[in-house]
Symmetry: C2
Subunit: 314 residues, 2 copies
Amino acid sequence: MERNTLVIGGAGFIGSFLCKELLKVSDKVIALDNLLRGKKENVKDLVSNPKFSLIIGDANDVTNLKKIIKDNKINYIFHLAANSDIQASAMNPSIEFECTAKTTWSILYAMRECGVKNLFFASTSAVYGELKGENFSEESLLEPVSYYGSAKAASEAFIRSYSYMNDFNALIFRFPNVIGPNLTHGVFFDFISRLKENPTELVVLGDGSQSKPYMHVSDLVRGILMLIWDNKGVNTYNIGVEHDTPVRKIAEMVVREMNLPNCKIKYGSGKIGWKGDVPHFSYKLDKIYSTGWKASMDSDEASLETIKEALGKK
Amino acid sequence: MERNTLVIGGAGFIGSFLCKELLKVSDKVIALDNLLRGKKENVKDLVSNPKFSLIIGDANDVTNLKKIIKDNKINYIFHLAANSDIQASAMNPSIEFECTAKTTWSILYAMRECGVKNLFFASTSAVYGELKGENFSEESLLEPVSYYGSAKAASEAFIRSYSYMNDFNALIFRFPNVIGPNLTHGVFFDFISRLKENPTELVVLGDGSQSKPYMHVSDLVRGILMLIWDNKGVNTYNIGVEHDTPVRKIAEMVVREMNLPNCKIKYGSGKIGWKGDVPHFSYKLDKIYSTGWKASMDSDEASLETIKEALGKK
């Protein structure tokens, strides 16, 4: 069977990396992106490939989405369209409704209308809420605390009902912070940008002990492409890396890689950078490991790789 | 503290019953209803009460919603606005997005903007999905199979994040089929309407063995008013009755109460009336029982009461 793929959010950080890899294993790759966070630049190396097209548009325009699906005989949809900046939506929650929850509904609706049966959905560890404890498994309750987490949890619920009602196959990955080339925000992007402006001082929110697992985008995309083609029914996996990297370590790595021995790193106090953020979390990876997938880089390795990529050292 | 209450969906079947009871224990009761399913007739006995107003409008009009909240110094919101016809949305899923999921988001957004802290939300047993087994507790995973169930599950996720981010208190009841006066659809409404048109024959979808627990609206509303005033944080309860009533028994009760001894009841075959419907389910009520609440009518008693109410025998 031909693999005609549509990557929604295809000019974004993860989406553009996925498009690049999909081009190696499928017959057609259409990237749809509204360029709210995505950038044409992210796919500039792909546009010369005759199997690739970038379409500027919003997935919430269902009429256009259906036209794209039909014109290209799409049979696999990779849904990575979402607001990905939790801090931004903490200030303005409606971003999450429009860009995350509604987008999922629009895509499912178009799939139902057009008879597309296969979906990948980019979910998040934030669906667990992460206040009550650690070691979340795929069987744990979803109790999101951020608007972002709740819009992703809502998306998962929508996917379940559409999949049951229309015999869709859906692969859902819940992932932690993903890093790599072309990041648009987050601690790595932020530290490097600020140090480029002022190389003498780096102010860190919180006391620097906040620690999260960071996964490299290449490991994530390898997982998607390993499981999507034979996926049947709705299957949800935690995907990630085993150890965490504290903010303090990231700050030190960035300063070292930028060769700024005289830069002062100033820490604040307290454990949480902003409400809805989580100081520490971990979750079980047994289910994804049972498929044979494992990250090739741990969190510290992925962090260093990302810093080097951002500084043009790779 | 004054209790200025807003019942969204207040002219609906459950909402109008709630308004009537709220008038006994609060200072002001505003019913907001878009009259898609609600009816002015349902609150016709309340409009003479100076503490009561019916406002025709849609909760998705956030500007208007905020004005109503401010003008009336609302401090308790009862959110019962939703599509309540699962069969209708199985045909047209977008009803659930607009009328169920989006409505919840709009209400939460307005609460955040206006500083309202207390919410009751009408959820459903359908959030569990009910295909995998029985005896769902509040700690069970949500795996909705109907669009209706997924929009309610999404609403619960939205409520969790807004409550955490804004210190809302939210009381969430997951309930089964609720019956009583002023029903607008469902098996009781349907059988009685059809027998009024043709008293000689009643055709039943499925083999009649399909069995569900039916709770009387008076028991539900008593539970809401028992727990809402002192509710702190997000608290979710299954609420319901212990035994089920099979469709066959309902058909027989209706025919008997309508005095139609010569009416023939014709059954179909198969267990499920339509996709997304569930032949049988049950869930645990221990948590709500621990508050002291218990239904005064079991499922069969509630069924008979409802039939008599519909026939004007009460």
